[in-house]
C-alpha cells in the first residue's frame, strides 16, 4: 500500500532530518500555526466546555445565561447512582466485545480467502468495502427495515425455514443483538482491508518451506499466518475498540437505546441526557460523555504504545 511504503521511506529520512531539526523551527511553526490554532479552538475549547458542563448544575436557563453554579463531582455521583448506569455499562461492554470478536474473525476469514489470486478477486474485494463507505444513517435505516417485525425480509426468511418471527428491534431480548449485527456488518470491511494488507506482507517463502515440511493448510495458518499477523491484529483490534466505543448513530437510529434501555450504551445515554429529552440535563450528559472519553483515551494510549513498540521492534 502507498502509505506503508511512504512511511518506510519516512523512517530513513527522519534520521538525517533530525540533525537539521533546529533550522526549520520558525518556518516550521509558521506552517503548523493554522492547525495548532484550530486544535485549540475546535478541540481543546469544546472539550474544556464539556468538562465545565459536567461540573456545574445546568438548567436550560442557566445554560443560555452561563451562570450555572459549580457543584463539583455531584453530576458524576448522580450518574454512578443512576439505575441506567449498570445496564449501560454492561451493554457497552457486550456491544464492543461481540462486535470486535465477529468483525475480526469474519474479516480474517475473508482476508485469508481473498489472499489467493483468482479471477475477479480484486473487484469483489473492493465491493466488500461498500458497507464501510455508506453513511451510517443509510445502513441503520436499511437494517431497521430488514429487521422489521411484520414486513422485514429477515423474518420472512426465518418463516420460510419454519422459524417463528423475532421482534428484532421491539423486544428487549433482541434489540442489543440487532444493533450488534448491524455494527458487525459495517465493521467487517475495515478488518478485511487491514488484515489483507497484513497478510500480503508475510513472505511466501515461509509457506513454501512449511509446505515442503508437509504442513497442511490449518497448521500453516496456526503456525505461520496467526503469529506473523500478530502486530496487525493488535492494531486492528485496538482501533476497532476505539471506534466501537464511539458508536452512536447506528444504535440511536435503529432503537434509540430502547426498548426500556435494553440497547442503551454510554454513547446513546449521554446523547439522550443532553439532547433527547424536552428538558435537557447537559451536566449529566457531559459527565457520562467524559467517562467515555477517559475510557477511549486510555485504550488510545495503549494503542499508541503498542504501535511504538512494533515500530522499534
Amino acid at each position: 500500500m502507498t502509505m506503508l511504503l511512504a512511511r518506510d521511506t519516512a523512517v530513513g529520512a527522519a534520521t538525517s532530518a533530525q540533525r537539521r531539526r533546529r533550522v526549520g523551527n520558525w518556518s516550521g511553526w509558521a506552517f503548523l500555526a493554522p492547525v495548532a490554532i484550530y486544535l485549540a479552538l475546535f478541540y481543546a475549547y469544546p472539550l474544556y466546555r464539556n468538562i465545565d458542563l459536567s461540573l456545574r448544575n445546568y438548567t436550560v436557563r442557566s445554560f443560555v445565561r452561563g451562570d450555572a453554579p459549580f457543584i463539583g463531582l455531584t453530576n458524576y455521583q448522580a450518574v454512578l447512582r443512576d439505575p441506567t448506569f449498570g445496564p449501560a455499562l454492561t451493554h457497552t461492554i457486550v456491544f464492543t466485545a461481540m462486535s470486535l470478536v465477529f468483525q475480526y474473525s469474519i474479516g480474517l476469514a475473508l482476508a485469508v480467502f481473498f489472499n489467493r489470486r483468482f479471477p475477479l478477486s480484486v473487484t469483489l474485494r473492493a465491493l466488500f468495502l461498500v458497507p464501510w463507505l455508506l453513511p451510517l444513517i443509510v445502513s441503520a435505516s436499511t437494517w431497521s427495515w430488514l429487521l422489521n417485525s411484520e414486513s422485514g425480509v429477515v423474518n420472512a426468511g426465518l418463516h420460510a425455514l419454519g422459524i417463528a418471527p423475532v421482534d428484532w428491534l421491539t423486544s428487549p431480548t433482541w434489540s442489543l443483538v440487532s444493533v450488534i449485527i448491524a455494527n458487525i456488518w459495517i465493521g467487517v470491511p475495515f478488518n478485511l482491508v487491514l488484515l489483507h494488507s497484513g497478510l500480503q506482507a508475510i513472505p511466501v517463502s515461509l509457506y513454501e518451506a512449511a509446505a515442503l515440511d508437509g504442513a497442511g493448510g490449518w497448521r500453516r495458518f496456526r503456525h505461520i499466518t496467526l503469529p506473523m499477523l500478530r502486530p496487525v491484529t493488535a492494531i486492528t483490534l485496538l482501533l476497532g475498540l476505539i471506534y466501537t466505543l464511539k458508536v452512536f448513530d447506528i444504535i440511536w437510529i435503529m432503537t434509540r437505546g430502547g426498548p426500556s434501555d435494553s440497547s442503551t450504551t454510554f454513547a446513546t445515554w449521554s446523547y439522550r441526557l443532553g439532547f433527547g429529552n424536552l428538558l435537557p440535563s447537559f451536566g449529566l450528559g457531559a459527565a457520562v460523555g467524559n467517562l467515555l472519553v477517559v475510557t477511549a483515551l486510555a485504550f488510545g494510549l495503549i494503542y499508541l504504545r503498542t504501535q511504538r513498540r512494533l515500530h522499534s521492534a
Binding site: A6, W29, D249
Partner: protein
C-alpha cells in the same frame, strides 16, 4: 491453483459478496417497491412492479437537503486540505521542535467520541450564535477529518526526496514557494485521498447535524432521512430512495477512486 480450483474460488467469492451486499440490494429493491406491496408477506425479492414514486418524492422534497450536504461537504474538504497540507509539510520536512507533541495531540483528538465533541460544540456555538448555521456545521464536520488529513499528508510528504527540496532552495525558492511549487504538486495522491474522505465523512455525518443543525434553515441529507423515518414511517420506498441517493457519493468514490480508498483505510492504522 488449478483452473477449476480458481473457478470454484471465484464462484464462492461471488456468493459471499452477494451475501455481504444483500442489505444494499434490499435497499434498492425497497426503493422501487410500490406502496401497496410494501407490507406483503413474503416480500417480493425483485421489484417486479417497479415504481419510481419513491424517487419522485426525493426530487420533490429532498433536493434542498442534498444541496446543503454538497455545500457542507465541499466546505469541509477545503478547510481540511487547507489545514492538513501545510501541517503535513511542516511535520514531515521542517520538523520544528514541539511538532511531535502536536502530532500526538492530533492522534489523541481522533479518539474523542463525536457525541462528546458535539456536546462541547453545542455549548460553544450557543454562546457565539453559530447553532443551525452552515459554517458552524462545516467547522464541526472538519474535526472528523483534520487529524486523518494531517496524518496522511505527513506520511506521504515524508516520502518526497529531501534533495528535491534542497534543489528548490538553492534556486532561491523560499519555504512558501517550495511548498507551493514542489511539495503540493507532488502530493496530489495524498491530497486526493484526504479530500475524498473529508467529503465522505462530512456527507455521512449525523451526530453533528442532529445536535448542531437540527431545525435549521439548511439541513443536510442525513437529517432529511432522519426526519423521514420520524414523520411518515409508512413510506419506506421514499425513505429507501433517499438512502440510495445518499449512498451515491460512496458508490462513485468506490468506482472512480478505489485505490485511494484502500490507501485511506490502511493509512488510518499507520501512524508514526
Amino acid at each position: 491453483m488449478t483452473g477449476t480450483g480458481k473457478r470454484w474460488h471465484t464462484a464462492l467469492a461471488v456468493v459471499l459478496t452477494g451475501l455481504m451486499l444483500f442489505p444494499v440490494y434490499w435497499m434498492i429493491n425497497v426503493s422501487l417497491t410500490r406502496e401497496q406491496d410494501m407490507r406483503k408477506t413474503p416480500p417480493d425479492l425483485f421489484p417486479l412492479h417497479g415504481t419510481l414514486a419513491g424517487y419522485q418524492e426525493v426530487l420533490g422534497e429532498q433536493l434542498p437537503y442534498l444541496g446543503t450536504s454538497v455545500v457542507v461537504g465541499l466546505g469541509t474538504t477545503l478547510l481540511t486540505v487547507a489545514l492538513s497540507a501545510p501541517a503535513g509539510y511542516a511535520l514531515a520536512k521542517l520538523r520544528p521542535r514541539g511538532g511531535g507533541v502536536l502530532s500526538f495531540l492530533l492522534l489523541a483528538a481522533q479518539m474523542v467520541p463525536g457525541i462528546i465533541m458535539a456536546m462541547g460544540f453545542y455549548a460553544v456555538y450557543l454562546r457565539f450564535g453559530l447553532l443551525q448555521s452552515v459554517p458552524g456545521l462545516i467547522v464541526a464536520d472538519s474535526t472528523l477529518a483534520v487529524p486523518f488529513g494531517v496524518l496522511v499528508c505527513t506520511a506521504f510528504m515524508s516520502g518526497i526526496p529531501g534533495e528535491l527540496l534542497q534543489a528548490a532552495r538553492i534556486d532561491g525558492a523560499g519555504h512558501l514557494r517550495t511548498f507551493r511549487s514542489v511539495v503540493l504538486p507532488m502530493s496530489r495522491n495524498a491530497l486526493v485521498t484526504v479530500s475524498l474522505f473529508a467529503f465522505l465523512w462530512s456527507w455521512s455525518d449525523f451526530v453533528f447535524a442532529a445536535t448542531l443543525d437540527n431545525g435549521g434553515r439548511y439541513e443536510p441529507i442525513t437529517l432529511g432521512i432522519y426526519h423521514y423515518i420520524g414523520n411518515n414511517n409508512q413510506q419506506w420506498n421514499a425513505i429507501m430512495a433517499t438512502a440510495v441517493v445518499a449512498s451515491l457519493p460512496a458508490a462513485l468514490i468506490l468506482v472512480l477512486a478505489q485505490r485511494f480508498v484502500a490507501a485511506g483505510v490502511t493509512a488510518g492504522a499507520v501512524k508514526e
